[in-house]
């Protein structure tokens, strides 16, 4: 009897709860069409501050044999499946593909809000316990399907960025930049890593992914160090050395902040034509469904990009104290908006020849997808055409199908790479897979 009554009461109670939460949280503005915020001059609405933090995560349903959909002229096939939270990719010169299985350190709880937020964030991710290692996949016959795999490097600490310079393989753990000896063709590294320098890590470590790349001449390494909060709510002392891109001298480990005010910079890459550094940046939350647009930008030496004091130049964030008008005056506008809350985490410039000519010279961006917007945004790979080393034209959807029915996630794309044949590889942390996108009429 009781069970029946509860079963009857539950939908009504659910509707009542949902209605109440919508009444409280939903009194914000309706989301706009994200295309208004793609490109050099995004529409920026007025700030809306909520009574309750907006949270709308896609329910994780997995792929169950399905694959993502690709734009015309492209095909998608699984490259690796059954992984444990693959988040970033790196292709070695001999074509071996490194897949970084990783997860962040546990988030501390300093406010009652974080009890709820941590739980919601857990719901948005795969239930698989993340690996803390790098796997190697080798395709022997060039058919785009790996024939061998091995554990390449194990026992890492929330690794993310990987880059090879000569015979030095660098891995960015969340709290240290490590160097390992690499010989061409190696399938495993057992040597202990040598620490080149510390990176800002715990105990808070809010944005923990440390993206990594090397200057074209190999003299410097560049590491993306995300902020330790959404908008300084863990105190300014927690932000020392963060929200910046570090330039690290490879020979000595000496480092400095190359550019600052970048809330969570990822996907560090040198643009092949102009040899300038580019990154995708996750902007701040809780100012409304359409603030603040995440972006793709070139990164200038010494430049300040606004966080936390302002966004898109001189738009002041009222949540930051003390304010710094002197820094706001210097803040520069990023190059190319990707629209709000898409969470870009992967970036790769395409210089291969496998994909149709349309995709040459531009940038692919992996958008992990929103968790705080009533209409989900992101959850796809877009292509931003470039001309003379600058974005030239609207972003196009290239790989989709990560979302179904508007609010269920089969997977979520993160890191990108181009393999030895010129196909695009996509790390899917929630689908625990790596996808390979190639020319529909080839391998």
């Amino acid at each position: 009897m009781i069970a029946t009554r509860e079963a009857n009461a539950t939908p009504a109670a659910r509707v009542a709860t949902a209605a109440l939460l919508l009444a409280i949280a939903g009194c914000g503005p309706a989301p706009i069409d994200p295309s208004r915020q793609v490109g050099a001059d995004p529409y920026l609405p007025a700030i809306h501050q909520y009574l309750l933090p907006p949270m709308h995560v896609a329910k994780v349903v997995g792929w169950n044999g399905a694959t993502p959909s690709a734009a015309a002229g492209l095909k998608v096939q699984p490259f690796a499946t059954g992984l444990a939270n693959p988040r970033s990719l790196y292709v070695l010169p001999n074509g071996d593909v490194l897949v970084v299985e990783t997860g962040g350190p546990p988030a501390p709880v300093s406010r009652p809000k974080e009890l709820v937020m941590n739980w919601v964030e857990k719901m948005a991710h795969s239930r698989t316990k993340p690996g803390q290692r790098i796997l190697l996949f080798r395709d022997l016959n060039g058919d785009g399907v790996p024939d061998q795999s091995s554990v390449f490097l194990d026992h890492l600490h929330s690794p993310f960025g990987v880059v090879l310079v000569d015979n030095d393989l660098y891995v960015a753990d969340t709290d240290a930049l490590l160097r390992f000896p690499y010989t061409t063709g190696a399938t495993q590294i057992t040597a202990a890593g040598v620490k080149l320098c510390d990176l800002p890590g715990g105990p808070i470590d809010h944005h923990w992914t440390k993206s990594l790349t090397a200057s074209p001449d190999g003299t410097f390494l560049y590491a993306g160090v995300g902020s330790n909060s959404n908008i300084t709510e863990n105190g300014m002392q927690a932000e020392v050395g963060r929200a910046s891109i570090w330039q690290i001298e490879r020979a000595t480990g000496a480092h400095r902040e190359f550019a600052t005010g970048l809330r969570n910079p990822n996907g560090l890459q040198f643009e092949p034509q102009t040899h300038t550094l580019w990154a995708v940046v996750n902007e701040r939350d809780e100012l409304g469904p359409d603030l603040v647009p995440d972006y793709l930008t070139s990164v200038r030496d010494g430049a300040f990009y606004g966080w936390p004091y302002s966004y898109y130049g001189q738009h002041i964030d009222p949540r930051v104290r003390p304010q710094r008008p002197d820094l706001v005056a210097k803040a520069i506008v990023p190059d190319y908006a990707l629209s709000s809350h898409v969470a870009p985490l992967g970036l790769v410039f395409y210089t291969g020849t496998n994909l149709p000519a349309h995709y040459r010279g531009g940038a692919f961006v992996g958008e992990h997808g929103s968790w705080d917007r009533s209409v989900l945004n992101g959850y796809k790979i877009v292509y931003v055409p470039f001309s003379d080393g600058r974005p030239a034209g609207p972003a196009e959807d290239v790989v989709t199908g990560f979302l179904i029915d508007g609010d269920k996630a089969r997977g979520r794309p993160v890191g990108l790479a181009v393999d030895g044949q010129g196909a695009l590889l996509i790390a899917d942390d929630t689908g625990n897979s790596v996808w390979r996108v190639s020319n529909a009429s080839g391998t």
Binding site: P112, I231, E286
Partner: protein
């Protein structure tokens, strides 16, 4: 001296929800009262220092105060409904409705305190915290009238 006549007018209104004669409502209310008062203090310190620790403490105080106030409300409401003599007291109505308003405002205040950094306190959170303390002064005064003037929940004295 003659025994007093058994007349309900001379018997104190009773508390139904009590532990060995100690009304549960009176045992619980110091916690939310202290928490909401302390929230005003930590909000003011945050407003003056912008040191996040104080805003974090405010957020915890509001959640702890609200959690205990649920039990205090339940105990108080049962006492209020169970004895008609309590409901005849004007102070009881001011106390009850005043405290419901305190709780509603504190729920909104706790939501505002979920924002990040400065606007989680200034200005809306700080104003609500101050309004709640002013309202508490009125409701606590009326609540103590119920006990110290009207003897609600006070055990009868044996005649000397």
């Amino acid at each position: 001296m003659a025994m007093p006549t058994i007349n309900t007018r001379y018997i104190n209104p009773r508390s139904r929800v009590s532990v060995r004669g100690h009304p549960l409502h009176a045992l619980l209310v110091p916690i939310p009262i202290s928490c909401f008062f302390a929230t005003l203090v930590t909000d003011i310190v945050y407003w003056r220092t912008a040191a996040m620790l104080w805003a974090d403490i405010s957020a915890w105080l509001l959640v702890i105060g609200l959690s205990f106030s649920l039990f205090a409300v339940a105990a108080g409401l049962i006492d209020f409904l169970a004895d008609g003599r309590i409901r005849e007291l004007r102070a009881a109505w001011i106390h009850a409705f005043g405290n419901i308003a305190v709780i509603v405002l504190s729920i909104v205040n706790a939501m505002i305190h979920t924002r990040d950094a400065y606007t989680s306190v200034v200005p809306a959170g700080l104003i609500l915290s101050a309004v709640v303390v002013v309202m508490l002064a009125v409701t606590v005064w009326n609540g103590s009238s119920l006990v110290y003037r009207h003897g609600v929940g006070v055990r009868e004295q044996e005649a000397p």
